[in-house]
Structures are given as C-alpha cells and as structure tokens.
C-alpha cells in the first residue's frame, strides 16, 4: 500500500495558473498572500451580487466590462469569493482599475485579486479550466503508458528505464545508503528513505527535490530499496501524479527483485554445494567434480590460489547475494579473475595461473584482495571484512588445499582485525601463528575464555575496557602507544587497565597470565565475529 | 551681477533681515526690535544686515514679509472706511454685503453699500446689463465719505468686464484719488467671501501704502537699487505696486514664510512643520516647497473669506500649557490644558520659581529642554505626573502630524517655535524630527526665497471642449499670470491643479483651479 501522506494536492496553485499565461496579461492588484492557494476549478460570472455560487478553491472569473469605476460591486464579489472559500477573483476587461477600497478588502481577506484583459472571456476561462484539469488527464495517460510498458519488461533495469521514460525524468533504484543499485547514478540523501512515499524538497544529495517510493520486496520486511526520481524545481505540477506512478512501478520492481533473488539464491546454493564437493573431496570422483565445475565456468587448471572472505557486522546472506556481482566486478578491477562463490558469511574464490607463481607475488594477491574488499565495504560503515589467501597449488587437489589454507588465514585475520578496513592475510605470512589455529578452533577454550571475561563484560557494556585491554596487549603493554592508538590520555589507559586487572583478578606483569589473557581476548573477538554472522 | 536678495520679516516683537546669495546661502542676518510704525524696525534691521555685506551693489531684490495688515484687521486699527458695491442684482439681494461681519468691524469699515444690476451667470452671459447710472450714483454717494470702494460682481473671476467698467465709472465720478478694489483681483469663486476679502483689502490700502512706501524708502535711503516685493498668503511674491493695491493678500504670509523658510534652511521641500508656541501649536505641511492650503473657509478678524491659507491644524499645547491635578501618590491621572500661562511662563512656571506646573516644567524634568529655568525646582514633581504629561504631549503631537499627512509615507518634521523642545524625537509616521538651526531668521529667509505666482479659478465646460483642452488652457493662463507677476518664464511650473465637478450641469461643467509659480526674473 502506497501511503501518499506527504503528497500534495494534484491541483495547480494560483501562482502557477497566473504564470501559465492562460489568463492573459494579468496583474495581481491585491491579496498577493493568497497566490499559493490551490485552484480546483474556474467559474465565470457577470453578476456582482453576494449570491454568486462559489465553491471551495474555485477561481471566479468576473466579466468586468460593465463595471463602473471604483465600483462597490467588486467588494461584494470579493466577499462572496472569500465566504465560499474561493481561490481568488480575476476581473476581466474592467474599464478602470479596482479602487483602493476593493484592494484593501482583498488584502484583508487574503484573497487574490487579479486584473486581466482578454478578447474572449469564455475562451480564456475554458483554457484555464483545461489547464486545471490537465494534471489529472496527464496522470491517466502516463499511468496507461506505464501499465502497458510493464507487461513487456522483465528486468529491474528495464522497468526503471520504462518509468524514467514515462515520467520524462531518470529513475533509479537505491539502497539504504543512498547509492544506486540500478538505474542512473544520482546521489540521494539517505535521510529521505523511509517507509512512505514522499516528495521531498531535498531528496538529492545536492539538495534537489525528488520523489521517493519504497520498494517492498517481502511484505512485512522493512524496505531495503527505494525508487527515486530526482526532480528539477519547475516540476511541482507533475510530481503529484508521478508519485502514484512510482508506487505502481515499485510493485513491479519489487516483484523483479524477488524473482532475481530467488534465482540468485538457487544458483548460489548450487555453487555452494559444488564448492563443498570440491573442498570435502567426498564421494564424487574428481573427474565428475571437474565436469560440474566446467558447467559453472570454473576451472582448477594450472596453479590455483584460493581466497576466503568473511564479513562481519550488519550483514546477511541476502546482502552477500546482492553484492556478489558488485564484488566480482571489484575483484576484476583489482586484477583478480576467477570464480566467486557466495557463502552465508562471505565468499570463496580462486584464481588460476598457468605457471607456478613466485613466492614474492603472494603479498600482491593479498593487496589486490584488500583493495577490492575496501572498496566493497567503504560505504556501509556497519560492515567489516577480513580475508585469507591460500598458497598456490596445482589442480583440483591444489584448489582444495589452497581453499583450506585461505579459511585458516581468514580466521587468523579475523582474530586481529582492525576497526576499519579489511584485513587480508596470506597463509604464508602467518608462520607460527598457525599454531594458534588449534586453540582458536577449540570450542572448549571458547567457553573458558567467555566465562573468564564475564566479570569484565558485566561492567563494560560498550566494550571500552575490553578494547583498551586488547590494544594495550597488542602494544606490548605500552600505555603510551595504546593511548595514541585509542586517542585517549595515557593515564586513561592506565586507569582502565588497572580496572581490568582488578576486575579479572589478573597480574599483567606476570608473562604467563599476560599470554593467557591475550589468548582469551583473541578468542573472544573471534567468537563475537561469529555471533554477528550467525543467521 | 545682482545675485543677492534681502528678506525682511516684521514680526510682533522682532524685525529680522537676512541676505541670501545664489543657491539660497545665508550671507548675513540681523535682528532689530519691531517699532509700532514698523518702518523704524525695518530700517534698523536692514542697515545692520547690510553692514555685513561686502558687495551691497549685488543686491537685486528685496522681499518683505509682514503681518502688519493682518494685525490692523485683528486689532481694528488704522482701517479705512469702504464703500461696498456689488454688481449682481437682481440676484443676491437676499444677502446684503457685510451680512455676517462682527459688529465692531462693520461699524469701522463699512460705508455705503449697494447692490446694483450687473454680474454674470455661470456660463458668462450677463445676469443683467451693468446699471451704469446706479454705479455713478453710488460713486457720488461715496465721494468724500469713504477712502476706498470695494467692487464685487457675480462670477467676476470668470468674467471681469463689469468690475472693470465699474472701476472706470467710479474713477470718473470720484476722481482717481478714490482707491477702488475689484473682487476678481483678490479672491476666487464664492461671491460673499470674495466680497468680504475685497472690502478688507480696500480698508487696508492706507496701512499697506505706509508699509510699502516705508520699505521702498528704506531701500532707497540705504542706497540699494532693488526691485521690492511683498510675500503673499501662499508663499509667493507680489510687487510693491501690487501690494499697494492688494494688501489683503499678505494677511496669511506669516505662517507661510515661517514654514517655507524653516524647511528651505533644512533643505527640505516636503515636510511637516510644527510650530509650538507658548499657548498653542500649529501643524502644517509643505508639499513641493509650498504649504498645503486649506479647503475650508478662512476667517480673518471674524470675517469669512475664501483665501487659500496654509492648512494649519491648531491645538492648545504650548510651553505655557498648565498641567492640572498633578498626581499625589503617583497614579498619573492628570489633565493637561487647555489653559496656558502663555508668555508668563518665564515667571509663573515652577522651574522659574513660580507655582504653576506647565509643560515647560515637564519638558525640563523629562530632559527634553535645557537652558531654561532651574531643573532642581522641578524635583518635587511626581515621576508619574511627568510620564503622564509626556505621554499626553507625544500622543497629541502624533495625532496632529497624522492628521496633516496626506499619505502613509513617512515625512520629516520640522519643529520650530519657543516650545519646540516639547516635540519628541520619535513620532509614528515621521521619518525624523529636525530642529532647524537658523530658525530665528526662518521667516525672513522664507520671504527671501519667495517665488512669483499666477493662478486661475474658472468654470469650464468639458463637453464644449475636451477636459484636457480645458485643463491645458487653464495651465497656460496660470503660467501667463505667473510671468506677469514677475516670474522668469523658463522657470514657471504648475504647482496645483484642482477640479470640482459641478452638479446638475449637464455640459460637464467643472470648476478648475490652477496655480503656477516660478523664481522671480533677474
């Protein structure tokens, strides 16, 4: 249901009507405060008494050719217009301008008084009426064109193009960040993206007015996408009907998105199943797996170097699905060409090389991956990523081992992940750290660590103390370095560490206890990342 | 180059003189006590001011502003007896000349009165042929018994023949020694009012001649070769020869010169002028350099005339106005005026050691006035009384200004007069309040900058020729009249055009009044 709570009336204002020129050479002689009133209809009269019928928002056009100079009769008509809630009074062909008494009355009534000359008063009124009805007629025509067109388009992009054509203005599909997901790029102010259809005076990031309509993909779920059409200043006249058109289009877009999502999920499930075959080396013989890989366009020929990306933060499988193509493009741009397979918490992928790569090339691949990831998570600040890269190895078995290594590397990268930016580790640079993998993978240790930290978490709702402890330990117990990294005073760090030490009852000057505590902190951080991706 | 002018103003107490150079700059000013005759005072002021002028030979014009004739009427002194002849019979017999005059003035001024056949209809046709025999007989009756004759005639502003012919006949009958005033030369439409003005004019001829001759002689004796003028009610000039004949046209020149002078000294052409005296306050308005004139009938010495006098609104508010019921206990309920101690303010006011609370005391206590009286003497006045009186003053002055203004556009206000200190600095609808510097010579300065004028007041038929043609003809006539009055032709401009449509007249009859003025020709 499109709720047009903020949509304006679909009628013209006096100002627009005057500017249109249909009323001839007009002059607002008084009551200019009323020019922003809506005009619903035009009536013509040549009578000047209080009984002339005036309905709400009606513009009264008076044949003034028989008016005496400075006539009281205009006062009476003005009153009738005011009392009937009329939009204003146009006096046509009066032999002399309205007198001061009449002008002052129009000011008092805040009723627009306009003088005009027109050779054919009735023709003028008819033209004005036609113009007033035009928005409704125009909307009907646009709606018809939209509905016909929608029967022939099958993609989101085509639907957007159709809406853009009907409205005469480009239309985009944006996500919550305001970035365009489909359709032309136009920076949108994310604050205007809400639950309702609106015409917002500052929908564009540059302060342009625009129409915004949420796209409901799954009823009941909050909107994740919006149709946005940026307007220029003179577009008020069509915006009312435009919003309704967007509403209709949003259903079509929503339907396309649901369909695309279902298809994407199905494909992803197939890919994931195959990947599990690759990694697991289960019942299927390698030849069969390779054949199936070929149907997806995958290859494990030559030297294969795998990577694994883990996402954390406000992220879910749908987000992964939607962003797979974008990430794929980013990887391509970064120089990494190869399959990319959606997982619930990220992606796996690999590249194939004809020759065995030099060991010195390992950091290069990690760097390329980081560039792509940094780009991917740049705009939604709520998402973090870390990744691991496996060593190159040959053929399908090589792919298998490289994939395993990439996951190990990713796990370790996650343990030491920074607050911002992607951390990418190559298995080869981990060295001794791999010893820790056993620990990190142990559920028992995880429970111990969690129980041990419980007293600290109880007094540390926002995680400040834990974060301070982590940085302090990483800085080799240097309060000065930790303070610089955290952007606080050294004494603050010392105070916090003292609180941690007393809360946890540990002695940080004892190397044994310090090592244990660091392990516990790492483990906890891994766990937290795991929790956040639990779906 | 004769590019200097001298302006002289004869006031009640002082006679001021000012010499003005090109562009209206004040070259010299002087003050002397007014003498009863008033020539002595004029002479003293002129001599003093000319002593300060290095090039007396550059003096080309002398302008005199005097309230002497006005005072003669008000004080009923030195007035001549006048024979009154009206050319209008058989019309107008229902109201005889001097019908509504104050008895004392009538006794002094009015001699034989007669309404004879003559005069004109609105369309210029004669009411009756002029009864020349009756005019002669009237002349015979007047000869030897009166000093002057006033002749009025129905519709003479539009048709002058009968008055001119009557003047000839009277001259034949009484000799050229008999002064004759003709109504079309001194007044506009409105027979009774014009007749009154003509009678007053005739009765002032001797007084005026003395002043005018005295002025002329003073100039001659001072060795000044100048053209001499007097200023009229409307702030324009007439030559001394005209002043000899039309002295009544000077009776309202006092306030006019004061307003024009004060504003010109401040460089303003459009302003309100407030003159706060000891007893009363007058507010007038200057539009395009001239006072707006009143549409209502103006009484001079109790006689109704139709002079176009400055439109002044007066109110009983002055430095000597008495403040009653000063609050004890401070509820601030007071009554101000309308009585005033007048010029006795210098002895009776509390700040001067007297025991009457006046607005001057209030002004001093409220910090509006300095240099008058002893402020400490007013310390006993309740602050609530001061505040209430100041509120009253500000309210009244604001109302006066509001009434005078012709539009909502804010105008500057010139505050003049001995009580000008009472005028607040901020008044609604007034852009700024100015207390002009050279104010002591404002009247004389006003006289010095007076211009020559001509006017027309006639009934036109807009159907006979178009409205535009009629107005054009009236404008041309007014301009010609201004040039005849001494204005430089190139500088003549129309300052007012008024049309009063005539009811019942199907031919589009309209009374048109046009005035043109211009600087006097060099």
């Amino acid at each position: 249901m499109i709720e047009a709570v903020s949509a304006p009336s679909k009628t013209l204002t006096m100002k627009q009507l005057l500017a249109s020129g249909v009323l001839g050479e007009t002059k607002v002689v008084a009551g200019g405060q009323g020019v922003n009133r809506a005009v619903s209809d035009v009536s013509v009269t040549d009578r000047c008494d209080e009984t002339i019928p005036v309905s709400a928002d009606q513009l009264v056009v008076l044949d003034g050719s028989a008016l005496r100079p400075n006539s009281y009769a205009l006062d009476i008509v003005l009153r009738a217009v005011r009392d009937g809630g009329g939009a204003g009074l146009v006096v046509v062909n009066a032999p002399s301008p309205a007198g001061l008494a009449t002008r002052r009355l129009a000011e008092r009534f805040e009723t627009v008084l306009v003088e005009s000359h027109a050779p054919d008063l009735l023709a003028m009124a008819a033209a004005a009426r036609e113009l007033l009805l035009q928005p409704a007629l125009h909307q009907a025509a646009m709606m018809k064109e939209l509905l016909r067109g929608m029967a022939r388009v099958s993609t989101v992009d085509d639907t957007l193009a159709l809406v853009g054509r009907v409205l005469g203005r480009p239309c985009s599909l944006v996500e919550a960040s305001g970035a365009a997901v489909a359709g032309p790029e136009h920076a949108v102010n994310p604050d205007v993206l809400g639950e309702h259809s609106v015409i917002h005076p500052q929908a564009g990031a540059g302060g342009e007015p625009g129409m915004v309509c949420p796209v409901i993909v799954v009823p009941g779920e909050p909107a994740r996408f919006w149709l946005v059409c940026i307007l220029s200043d003179g577009d008020e006249a069509v915006s009312g009907s435009g919003l309704d058109l967007l509403g209709v289009a949003s259903w079509a877009v929503g339907a396309h998105l649901v369909r695309d999502r279902l298809a994407g999920e199905r494909d992803a499930r197939h890919r994931l199943a195959l990947l599990n075959e690759v990694v697991g080396g289960g019942e299927l013989p390698d030849e069969t797996i390779l054949a199936q890989m070929a149907t997806f366009g995958w290859s494990a020929a030559g030297w294969v170097s795998a990577f694994h990306v883990q996402l954390s933060g406000h992220v879910d499988a749908a987000w992964v699905l939607v962003n797979t193509d974008a990430f794929s493009d980013l990887l391509h741009s970064a120089g990494l060409e190869g399959p990319l397979i959606e997982r619930t918490d990220g992606w796996s992928g690999w590249v194939c090389l004809p020759e065995e790569p030099d060991v010195t090339s390992y950091p290069k691949m990690a760097r390329q991956l980081r560039v792509a990831l940094d780009e991917l998570i740049a705009s939604p600040e709520t998402i973090a990523a870390h990744a691991g890269v496996g060593r190159p190895a040959q053929g399908l078995p090589g792919l298998r081992s490289s994939l395993a290594e990439s996951r190990q590397a990713a796990a370790l990268a996650g343990a030491g992940a920074a607050a911002r930016g992607a951390v990418v580790r190559h298995i080869d640079e981990l060295g001794i750290q791999r010893i820790m993998l056993g620990w990190y993978g142990s559920a028992d240790f995880s429970r111990v660590a969690s129980a041990f930290l419980q007293p600290l978490r109880a007094i540390d709702a926002d995680g400040t103390l834990l974060r301070t402890l982590e940085v302090y330990l990483d800085c080799q117990s240097s309060a000065t370095n930790a303070a610089a990294l955290l952007g606080v005073h050294r004494n603050t760090v010392m105070n916090r560490i003292d609180r941690v030490a007393s809360t946890l009852e540990v002695n940080l000057f004892d190397p044994e206890q310090r090592l244990a505590l660091q392990l516990v902190v790492r483990m906890h951080k891994l766990d937290s990342n795991d929790h956040s991706r639990a779906l | 180059m004769k590019n200097l002018r001298i302006g002289v103003d004869v006031g009640g107490t002082n006679t001021d003189a000012v010499v003005v150079g090109p562009g209206g700059t004040v070259i010299a000013e002087a003050k002397a006590a007014t003498t009863p005759d008033p020539i002595g005072g004029i002479k003293a002021a002129v001599d003093t001011v000319m002593d300060q002028v290095d090039t007396p030979e550059a003096l080309g014009k002398a302008m005199l502003g005097t309230t002497h004739p006005a005072n003669a009427i008000i004080r009923r002194r030195d007035l001549d007896k006048v024979g009154v002849l009206r050319l209008a019979a058989p019309s107008s017999l229902g109201v005889r000349p001097s019908a509504a005059w104050p008895e004392d003035l009538r006794r002094i001024v009015i001699g034989p009165s007669k309404i004879v056949e003559g005069g004109f209809e609105y369309d210029g046709s004669p009411i009756a042929p002029l009864d020349e025999d009756a005019v002669r007989r009237f002349g015979g009756q007047c000869a030897g018994s009166v000093a002057a004759i006033a002749v009025s005639c129905a519709f003479s502003p539009a048709a002058t023949e009968h008055e001119l012919r009557a003047a000839e006949l009277l001259a034949e009958e009484c000799g050229t020694g008999m002064a004759v005033s003709l109504s079309h030369t001194v007044g506009s439409l409105g027979l009774l009012e014009r007749e009154n003005a003509t009678i007053l004019n005739a009765s002032l001829l001797t007084v005026a001649k003395r002043v005018v001759d005295g002025f002329r002689n003073t100039m001659a004796e001072a060795g000044l070769d100048v053209d001499s003028y007097l200023t009229q009610n409307d702030g324009t000039l007439m030559t001394v020869d005209e002043a000899d004949r039309y002295p009544v046209l000077t009776v309202g020149s006092g306030p006019t010169n004061s307003m024009r002078g004060a504003c010109a000294l401040a460089g303003l052409a459009d302003a309100l002028v407030i003159d706060v005296g000891g007893t009363s306050t007058d507010v007038g308005i200057l539009v395009d350099g001239f006072p707006r004139v009143s549409t209502a009938a103006v009484e001079v010495g109790g006689v109704r005339t139709n002079f176009r006098m400055p439109d002044l609104i007066s109110m009983g508010l002055g430095g000597g106005t008495v403040v009653h019921n000063p609050a004890r206990g401070g509820n601030g309920e007071i009554k101000v005026g309308p009585d005033s101690v007048g010029y006795d303010v210098i002895t009776d006011a509390i700040c001067m050691g007297g025991d009457t609370l006046t607005l001057s005391d209030i002004s001093l206590a409220a910090g509006r006035m300095e240099g008058f009286g002893e402020r400490s003497l007013t310390e006993g006045v309740e602050p609530a009384t001061i505040a209430a009186a100041i509120d009253w003053v500000d309210g009244r002055i604001a109302v006066l200004c509001e009434r005078m203004k012709a539009s909502s556009t804010p105008l500057p206000l010139m505050a003049v007069g001995g009580g000008a200190h009472l005028v607040p600095e901020q008044i609604a609808g007034v852009s700024e309040v100015l207390w002009p510097p050279h104010h002591s010579v404002a009247n004389a300065f006003g006289a010095a900058i007076a211009e020559a004028a001509g006017s027309v007041d006639k009934v036109y038929s807009y159907d006979a020729s178009s409205r535009e043609a009629c107005l054009e003809s009236a404008r041309e006539e007014a301009k010609d009249a201004a040039v005849r009055a001494g204005a430089e032709e190139a500088g003549v401009r129309i300052t007012s055009v008024a049309e009063i449509p005539m009811t019942y007249v199907p031919g589009g009859g309209c009374r048109v009044m046009v005035k043109a003025v211009g600087p006097p020709a060099e």
């Binding site: - | 539009s407 005539m502 019942y504």
Partner: protein, 358 residues
C-alpha cells in the same frame, strides 16, 4: 405657534448641515437669508399643521441648482416669492403657510426667509427630514401626493408653471428648466392642503433639526455627556472611526458621485467605503453594506465634530461615521423603490443591522 430666535436659527443651520449628510447645499447662505429677512420683516413664526385650517393651502419653496453656482449667485429672495406667486395664481389660491420640502441642507432655511417676507407661518414638517437630490424622493410621493403643479422661477422674473404626470417627470422637467435659468433657481412644488400634509408629511422635522443642531453644538463645545445625548436623541450609532485614505470624485449623469475610503483608527486592516451621490448614501465594510439610504450617513470630524460636506472631504481627515435612522414616516410601501439603495443604482438591499448599536 412659536417664534424662531436667532439662536434657533444657528442651531437649525447646524442641524441642517448634519441632516444634509454631506450634501444638500451649504446652509450658511440660507442662514444669512433668514437673518436678513427677519431683520427686514420681523420674526419667523413656526406652526404645526394642527394649528392651520384643514382646507388651507400649504406651499413649499426651495433652491434648485448647482451648489457651486449658488456660491456665486446668491438668491435674491424675490425668486422664491415669484415662484410661489405664479403657482398660487395657477391654483387660484394663496398659501396659509409655507413648508420646507427637505429639512437637511440649505433648503431647511430658504422657506423660512420667504415665509417671513410673505408674512405667513412656516410649518414644522417636511417631506424628507434629510436631503435627497431628486424632487420625487419625498414621503409625499409614497402617499400619492403630486409634486406638480409646480413652478420654477429665477430672480429676473422668468418663471414657468407646469404639470407633470408623475413626480419623476416633474423632476426631469425641473432639471431641464434649471439648466436654462442659470442653475440657481427657486422651485415650488407639492402644493397641498393642510389635510394632505397632516396625512402625508413628516411632522416636527424643524424642531427635530433644531434639537439635533443644538446637541451637536454642545458636542462641539465639549459639553460633558453631549455626545451620548446626541446619539440618544437621534437613535444614532457610531459605526466607524477612520482616516480618509482615498477620495475618488467623478461626475456622471449630473451627479457628483464619489467614493471615500476610511481606514479604521484602531485596526488598519479595516476599511469603510462610503458611496456618495451628492449626499453620503451607503457605507460598505468587508464587502457588505452596513448603512444604506434612506437612513442617514453622517461624517463628522473626529476631533471637532464638525459635519464634513462632500466638498470638504480631504485626504487624511479623521472622521466619525454616524448612522442615523431616517424619519419613521419613510417606512411604508414603496420606500425601497423610491429611496432605497436600488433607487440610486446600488444592487443591494436596505440594511438596518446597525440600529440599536452605540
């Protein structure tokens, strides 16, 4: 029978100015005419119709013409007598008394001067108790009384007597004659018997006018309570106090038409439009008539309480607008057609919502 004093005449003239509602001619000349007549012929006697014989003839006289012309062509006095004489000769009967047609404006006083000169009393009654621009606009017309036969006379002995079918035709004939005779003439119309006047006149209007004038003079002198006294006596209401912000004068069809706009002294968004045709006729506020003819619409100087005539209106004047009920004799069949707003070309209804207000 009562004698008019000089003080009465001043009060009467003041009242006549107010009842003239801006027009009706300046009573000043009329006052001078009366004073001179009393000076020359003795005092004026005022009678009520009850003091006169029922079959006696009552005649009227008035100035008809253009106010601006009358300023120059002061009446001779003779024109009124000759007009009455001509009509009396036509009717074959002399009047037992004179009566004003309109008590309001200059014609309140003119017949007094003539009555004094003729040595007949003046009747304390009239046909309008205000001023109207046309001859047929009298309560006499509502009673079916005829304006004709009537006479127009000038001061030179020119005169005409004519019959007219309707009082409207009488008006057009009179107007045509006046243009030919110099625009300042005497008219005598509505010759009636005492019984007719008793049946169809407004009684006590001279007394009313004098009392109104006396009370107004007291207001002008600042007498305590005088204003309330005036309002109470006239049953008037103060409908507006404002400043003149626009005067639009124009002459059409022989009438001085005009529109004056007042801005309220306390609320500058409020304006009052006063429509004038020789007299003040209708006041509009907020596009609605608030006072209409035949009720009286008087403009008084806010400070001095001087009645302001149409000619005397000036920009910036501060005015009080007073509504006064017309004489009750007007309220009968035919009033709206004869003197209601539509009779003056205003397509609106008579209103009396202001009555009872203060």
């Amino acid at each position: 029978m009562r004698e008019l004093t000089i003080d009465d005449i001043d009060d009467l003239a003041m009242g006549a100015t107010l009842l003239g509602t801006g027009g009706g001619g300046d009573p000043y000349v009329g006052k001078l005419l009366v004073k001179q007549a009393i000076e020359d012929y003795g005092p004026a006697q005022v009678v009520t119709v009850d003091e006169l014989p029922v079959e006696g003839l009552i005649m009227t006289t008035a100035i008809i013409g253009a106010p601006t012309v009358i300023l120059e062509k002061i009446p001779a006095g003779t024109e009124f007598r000759s007009g009455i004489g001509a009509l009396a000769a036509y009717l074959g009967s002399d009047p037992v008394a004179l009566m004003p047609i309109e008590v309001g404006g200059v014609n309140t006083l003119v017949p007094i001067a003539t009555a004094v000169e003729m040595g007949v009393p003046i009747v304390d009654a009239d046909g309008m108790r205000r001023a109207f621009p046309q001859i047929e606009m009298t309560v006499f017309t509502l009673h079916g009384l005829k304006a004709a036969p009537m006479s127009i006379a000038d001061e030179k002995g020119n005169m005409c007597v004519f019959e007219a079918n309707t009082n409207q035709i009488a008006e057009s004939l009179a107007r045509a004659a006046v243009v030919q005779l110099g625009l300042a003439n005497a008219i005598s119309c509505y010759p009636m018997t005492v019984a007719d006047v008793r049946r169809g006149g407004i009684h006590g209007s001279m007394t009313y006018c004098t009392e109104v004038g006396r009370r107004l003079s007291q207001v002008q002198r600042g007498a305590p309570g005088a204003w309330d006294e005036l309002l109470a006596y006239t049953e008037a209401a103060l409908v507006f106090s404002g400043k003149v912000i626009d005067i639009d004068r124009r002459t059409t069809e022989g009438f001085a038409r005009g529109t004056v706009v007042l801005e309220h002294l306390d609320d500058s968004t409020r304006t009052l439009r006063v429509e004038i045709q020789n007299e003040n006729l209708i006041a509009f506020e907020d596009g609605e008539a608030v006072v209409t003819v035949p009720d009286l619409l008087c403009l008084l100087d806010h400070e001095s309480a001087d009645p302001i005539t149409t000619e005397g209106l000036a920009f910036g004047q501060r005015l009080d607008v007073l509504a006064m009920p017309c004489a009750p004799e007007w309220h009968r069949d035919g009033m709206f057609d004869l003197v209601g707003p539509r009779a003056f070309g205003y397509d609106i209804d008579y209103v009396d919502g202001w009555k009872g207000r203060r």
